[in-house]
């Protein structure tokens, strides 16, 4: 009996060894994904699970592509955009991204959403020479610069620097508490807050997306004597934090990150939202023509979602991709697309200021603006700051 099994194991291992003498797989080639009528693009984002809301980014990108197709496409070609689901699990992001590259033979990856999921694929995409735009905001993926990797969301450090500047100017000498989701962006933020505030940073308190409420975090911040709270997280938890603090009759000012003050926050927090400050690299005035246009596109081509910061940022990614595809000309190749991306210079969109990229700058944004909720509406406070 054992001999027979040993024999089988041997056969199996030999078969593996023999099959090892096969040819190296084809990989991707420079002509992938472009035909005379279509450009095949792809992205992997969470469509299911607890982080499914991040999928709004790719929904926004797809809306802009559909809008472009309806307007006649790009140099006679239409965009065919495939979005695959990874449920925000890196062990699925890798195969799904590989599937886009080797099986669907996409021309480029435009908008892989999420930090940990993008971390798992960006180096291999660079090795495979697939032009890729990540949607994470994580600065580490574009510094140092990799030739094929670009970033499509506003850089987190610009947001954070704007938050710091606002707090320093408005609440000098006040004790600062930091409330954040326990994730990489919070760690990143803390590494910038600590040198900026020193001993004034009296408490950092974190939460998980499985926490049903924030009462103990708020009590801890209050106990530590915090006078200003810098927040980093999603809209729901900002609303929970504000209502918990106000429920304890604590009128502490909240300075929140980009994207957490959206329509769902404003409607759930209601009157308690007044006074909350946020920073953003995107336009928020509902009367602004760019915002009106963006919302019209989203309403027409993505009717299943409510327009919000994530879908608008997705729309902006779509805008940059389409501009670069147009600029790359009729004779579209990956190298002409890369050159066009590196020469990105778009003067108007839902973003504040200009979107520019160069061979040394692979994130198009950098301008920030502080805003405050007044009577349920976001109003700009202070000036736009650009660059660092």
């Amino acid at each position: 009996m054992p001999r027979k099994q040993a024999l089988i194991c041997l056969v199996a291992v030999t078969a593996v060894a023999l099959a090892g003498c096969s040819s190296k797989k084809a990989g991707s080639s420079s002509e992938d994904g472009v035909t005379s009528t279509t450009i095949h693009l792809g992205a992997v984002s969470p469509q299911s699970g607890a982080s499914a809301s991040f999928g709004d980014v790719t929904t926004g990108i797809k809306a802009y592509f559909d809008y472009t197709n309806a307007a006649g496409g790009i140099n006679g070609r239409k965009i065919d955009f495939t979005v695959l689901d990874d449920a925000y699990d890196p062990s699925k992001t890798v195969p799904q991204t590989e599937k886009l590259v080797t099986q669907d033979k996409v021309f480029a990856i435009t908008g892989n959403v999420g930090t940990k999921t993008s971390q798992a694929v960006y180096q291999r995409l660079n090795t495979e020479k697939v032009p890729s735009i990540m949607a994470s905001g994580d600065p580490t993926m574009v510094s140092p610069i990799l030739p094929y990797i670009f970033e499509g969301l506003a850089p987190l450090d610009a947001d954070i620097n704007e938050q710091i500047a606002y707090v320093k100017a408005t609440y000098p000498g006040k004790k600062v508490g930091f409330l954040a989701e326990n994730n990489d962006s919070a760690t990143n933020e803390l590494s910038l807050l600590t040198p900026a505030f020193g001993s004034l940073l009296v408490k950092q308190s974190t939460f998980l997306l499985t926490d049903p409420d924030l009462s103990s975090q708020i009590v801890a911040l209050k106990n530590a004597g915090a006078q200003v709270i810098i927040f980093n997280g999603v809209p729901k938890y900002l609303a929970l934090a504000v209502s918990e603090a106000r429920g304890q009759n604590w009128q502490v000012p909240f300075i929140s990150n980009n994207a957490s003050v959206d329509s769902s926050f404003l409607s759930t927090a209601g009157a308690q939202a007044d006074g909350v400050v946020t920073v953003t690299g995107f336009k928020t005035d509902p009367a602004d023509p760019e915002v009106v246009k963006a919302n019209d596109i989203l309403k027409q081509y993505a009717p299943s979602i409510t327009p919000g910061p994530l879908s608008q940022e997705g729309l902006a990614v779509g805008q940059i991709v389409v501009a670069a595809l147009k600029a790359a000309g009729k004779d579209l190749t990956r190298s002409s697309f890369l050159s066009a991306l590196n020469a990105t210079n778009i003067s108007s969109g839902v973003f504040i200021g200009q979107a520019t990229m160069s061979p040394t700058k692979h994130n198009p944004y950098g301008c920030e603006q502080a805003l405050q909720v007044k009577s349920g509406v976001l109003a700009p406070i202070g000036d736009v700051t650009c660059g660092s």
Partner: protein, 414 residues
């Protein structure tokens, strides 16, 4: 022909399923076919052949493994198959704990995480060769599994489910907290190893990772198989089928329960090491409760207490959870097309599989099923159940001890 092959039905099954795969892949479907479909075909082929040649269907568990090696050539879905095999190795471990010793374990994912961190830390921070870290990843997870196994002895049923889910919840939180070791929420990037020396000309990184995983899967299957077909296997089977009787004949329940946890966690740790190697990025929040629950669905859908069930289940669950598409309808309401979202399709399919194949997909092929009767008939073998029915045809007359006119005298009447 049969006499020549007699005694080696498994080898026949393996060889034929390998051939089936090759045919499917190279001849019948010159356009790339999804890897998992090929594996499913190959598996079914392997089972049929193993059965027709009087082998036990369990031995066809190796069926899908051998043909897998051919798939890499086609360059389709290598990374996907790698991940499926990694899931299967960990599921094999969980099956030992949950399927064979009946301990509901919702924490398998955290042991994978543990193994992944061991590999990631040793390879990235200390420069170890990745292959060397794999056994260590398994051992560290096994040690942790041993601890949990001892703790689990105190609990049963729902309580064990809550204990293990507590571990599954607390594990990632603790891993995130000890930043100096685990790099916290930023995770650890692992440089994927290049194929060594002579292989470098033929294989790229993904293919190398794939072959390493295949070899590990084969080792895992061979060891599990040896374990379960011998004395321990008999004891575990007795334990599962009748715990009280097993205790009565001197099977040491405690020892096997703890042993199952340790060995099961070893496979999880090994799978974790392979995860770190092939994904190239490890972060603790990837190994939460829902990740763990996935393995439970794998072994139930595949078939509890079968080695092949872990592999079939891994294929089915992975494909259901990633490749199922939204089902759209032509009807629209307010301009929005009606559709069943992907996650709902997955959920519905999962429920349907469990309802219609309660013993798992492997159960469809098990001895008491219609399938086995069909193959028995194909082989012209005896079918005991038809014998029973036929024997009923003639029956002896009933002996009546009383006159038939008044057989039921009532005692009283009212």
């Amino acid at each position: 022909m049969r006499s020549v092959l007699h005694g080696h039905p498994r080898l026949v099954g393996l060889v034929i399923s390998a051939l089936v795969t090759w045919l499917l892949n190279e001849v019948l479907f010159p356009t790339p076919l999804n890897g998992y479909l090929v594996v499913l075909f190959a598996y079914v082929g392997g089972v049929v052949v193993a059965r027709l040649s009087r082998g036990d269907h369990r031995y066809a568990a190796l069926g899908p493994l051998v043909p897998l090696v051919f798939l890499a050539q086609n360059s389709i879905g290598v990374t996907e198959l790698t991940q499926i095999l990694i899931l299967a190795i960990a599921a094999l471990g969980l099956d030992l704990i949950t399927g064979w010793t009946g301990q509901l374990n919702l924490a398998q994912g955290i042991f994978i995480g543990l193994g992944a961190y061991v590999t990631a830390i040793l390879a990235s921070k200390h420069g170890w060769p990745i292959l060397l870290t794999l056994p260590l990843a398994g051992l560290v997870a096994a040690a942790a599994g041993l601890l949990l196994g001892v703790l689990a002895l105190r609990f049963d049923g729902v309580y064990l489910a809550v204990l293990t889910s507590a571990v599954a919840l607390a594990g990632p939180v603790l891993l995130l907290h000890y930043k100096s070791i685990t790099n916290g929420v930023n995770g650890i990037i692992v440089n994927q190893p290049q194929p060594p020396g002579a292989f470098a000309d033929w294989l790229d990184t993904d293919q190398w990772g794939y072959y390493v995983t295949v070899v590990m899967a084969i080792i895992a299957v061979c060891i599990s198989w040896n374990l379960l077909s011998g004395r321990i296997g008999r004891a575990l089977r007795a334990l599962r089928d009748s715990p009280i009787a097993a205790k009565g004949i001197g099977v040491d329940l405690t020892r096997y329960k703890v042993l199952a946890f340790a060995v099961g966690s070893f496979w999880a740790g090994l799978a974790g090491g392979l995860y770190a190697m092939t994904i190239g990025f490890v972060s603790a929040d990837s190994f939460g409760l829902f990740y763990s629950i996935q393995f439970l669905t794998i072994i139930v859908v595949g078939g509890l207490s079968t080695i092949s069930g872990a592999f079939v289940g891994a294929v089915v669950i992975y494909e259901l959870s990633t490749n199922v598409q939204t089902i759209g309808f032509a009807t629209t309401v307010n301009g929005v097309a009606l559709s069943i979202p992907q996650a709902a399709v997955y959920a519905i399919l999962l429920i349907l599989v469990v309802i219609f194949a309660p013993k798992g997909i492997i159960g469809i092929f098990s001895d008491k099923s219609d399938w086995s009767r069909l193959t028995q008939r194909l082989r012209g073998g005896h079918n005991r159940s038809t014998d029973v029915v036929q024997a009923q045809a003639d029956r002896p007359p009933i002996v009546r001890l009383d006159a038939p006119e008044d057989p039921h005298p009532a005692i009283t009447s009212y």
